[in-house]
Amino acid sequence: MDTSYYLIQALNGIQYGFLLFLVASGLTLIFGIMGIINLAHGSFFMIGAYLCWWLTSLTGNLFLGILAGVPLAVVLGLLIERFGIVHLYKRDHLYQVLFTYGLILIFGEMRSILWGNEVQSVQIPEILSTAIPLTEVQSYPVYRLFISLVCMALAAMLYLVVQRTRLGMTIRAGASNREMVQALGLDIAKLFAIVFALGAALAAFAGMVAAPVQSVFPGMGDEILIVSLVVVVVGGVGSIKGAFLGAMLIGLADTFGAVFLPHGAGTVIYTVMAIVLLWRPQGLFGRA
């Protein structure tokens, strides 16, 4: 194992970190602004991946699959917010946990009815299926770089929207003081719907671009949800900056954990979380 091997692992870790960021940023925004614990957030990741597989096999093109899939995810997010989540705003976290847990069961079974329980794979489109040689024996797949770049672009866009636009200003205001936003006469119902649909779309998109790399399987939503929760807790609930740093930290820790501790890899990220919390119980960027 030489340096290029570690370089590849680092790139993989960063790529995983970007995917985690897309999922975790939605999770943390939905909690920070709407005060909702959404356990069904991972389901959007899974639905995205299955939509991508289904639409790609229909159209024969991954890009068309993603292009057609994202609007579907937005619509689904809006429907769930309007008919489900809207009843939970004033309820205790406990009921939010249970309600969204029920949603997970429903999404999981709907997926099973519509698309079955088999593991599916999505072909990487030809232009992205090459690899960049790093040394004589090792090379890095272009598609993974593509994921990192697209996610980076999305992260930058999200940052600009949140920091520079009127919508972003409202979102930030909503995160720090919901009652005040309401009192100022801004349409909080519309804001909540937008935030929820945005979060759902980000998670679904992450599932779509991840589908060709990690294959498509029933439990993928649960897996990413738990890791994203760790990211959110490490970064500090409600903070986009925290979600970003947390995602990178956890993405790298997970990847290098698998390299150095092949038999205990699953526990590395939780150990990182425990250390961070011992030091800062409210997470890296959380408010106490």
Binding site: H87, H93, G102, I113, I226, T271, L278
Partner: protein, 329 residues
């Protein structure tokens, strides 16, 4: 102070009598099913101590259930020991020790952090047992012996006997219930209920909030360990799913469905949910869809659970007008 209402007492007494007498007439399928329900009942009651009485929403309670199960499997498979006197205390002790560590770390946080952290710690244990070949990996273990209580060659209690296990579980369920009632009426029990209602006031009165929460967490974890011991003994099988978050989610549904903060509610929740699952799962492969809709319906229409219905019905029966709801001035 925690007190059982009269209809609840009558109901409990009836339940206890039915459970005690059922094996005399019942068939073996339902004896097995009732054993499972009683085990889950202990598990759900232990979570109620946290959610319903201390105000700690733990989404990782299956961790303690799972490690106790693995302790049983370890003794029987790896050490070849079947002595009940060794296995039960170790299983509960391991759960208590885990609850001490996880609780100590988690209780530093509150609200959503607490929910997520308990979930993450349970997943950590889940991942640990899934990764380790020594612990059977994803498949877990089957084992063929069950814990026994024996002195020399005389076997006093053999839990591989279906009826012995049934009554052993029944006695543990009763003991757990009585223990919790006594605990909740003790000064400690009143203090944790005070923490749930108003943490700030309790702190101002000089209580050590973290200590109270941690003690409650450890007691609940140990009781979940008792349930875990019984579960492993009952099925003679362990796998990492015992501590998965689906398990934690299911037991939380039992508590809410039955009615949190009532102690007997979670027992009813375990009964209702297990019977429901048992019936629809045999009819339809996609029964979890119905379960999901059911959970959502409970959250929307039955936030106080079955126990809430019972208390309301009892109030009406006594022709006492229900307490007036406070209106906004």
């Amino acid at each position: 102070m925690y007190a059982l209402s009269r209809p609840a007492l009558v109901l409990l007494l009836l339940m206890a009598i039915c459970l005690g007498l059922y094996p005399l007439i019942g068939d073996s399928y339902y004896i097995r099913l009732l054993t499972k329900i009683m085990v889950l009942g202990i598990f759900a009651m232990s979570l109620d101590l946290l959610i319903g009485f201390t105000g700690l929403i733990s989404l990782g309670h299956a961790a303690f259930f799972g490690v106790a199960s693995y302790a049983v499997a370890w003794y029987i498979v790896k050490a070849g020991v079947t002595s009940l006197l060794l296995i039960l205390p170790t299983a509960v002790g391991v759960s208590a020790a885990c609850a001490l560590v996880i609780g100590w770390l988690s209780i530093r946080t509150a609200g959503i952090y607490f929910i997520m952290i308990t979930l993450a710690f349970a997943q950590m244990l889940h991942a640990f047992f899934k990764d380790q070949k020594y612990w059977g990996g994803t498949d877990g273990f089957n084992f063929y012996d069950k814990p026994k209580l024996a002195f020399g060659d005389t076997v006093v209690l053999d839990l591989s006997n279906r009826l012995t296990l049934y009554y052993f579980t029944f006695v543990l369920l009763l003991s757990a219930f009585i223990f919790l009632v006594v605990l909740l009426r003790s000064p400690f029990g009143r203090a944790i209920q005070g923490v749930k209602v108003n943490e700030g006031r309790m702190r101002a009165m000089g209580y050590n909030i973290r200590h109270l929460k941690l003690m409650s967490f450890i007691i609940a974890g140990s009781l979940a360990g008792v349930a875990g011991f019984l579960e492993a003994t009952r099925t003679a099988y362990v796998n990492p799913e015992l501590m998965s978050w689906h398990m934690s989610g299911n037991v939380m549904i039992m508590v809410i469905l039955g009615g949190m903060g009532t102690l007997y509610g979670p027992l009813l929740g375990a009964l209702a949910l297990t019977l429901l699952g048992d019936n629809i799962s045999s009819m339809w492969d996609h029964w979890l869809l119905i379960m999901g809709l059911f959970v959502i319906a409970v959250v929307m229409f039955l936030p106080e659970g079955i126990a809430g219905l019972i208390e309301k019905a009892a109030d009406r029966f006594k022709r006492k007008p229900p307490p007036k709801e406070e209106t906004e001035p």
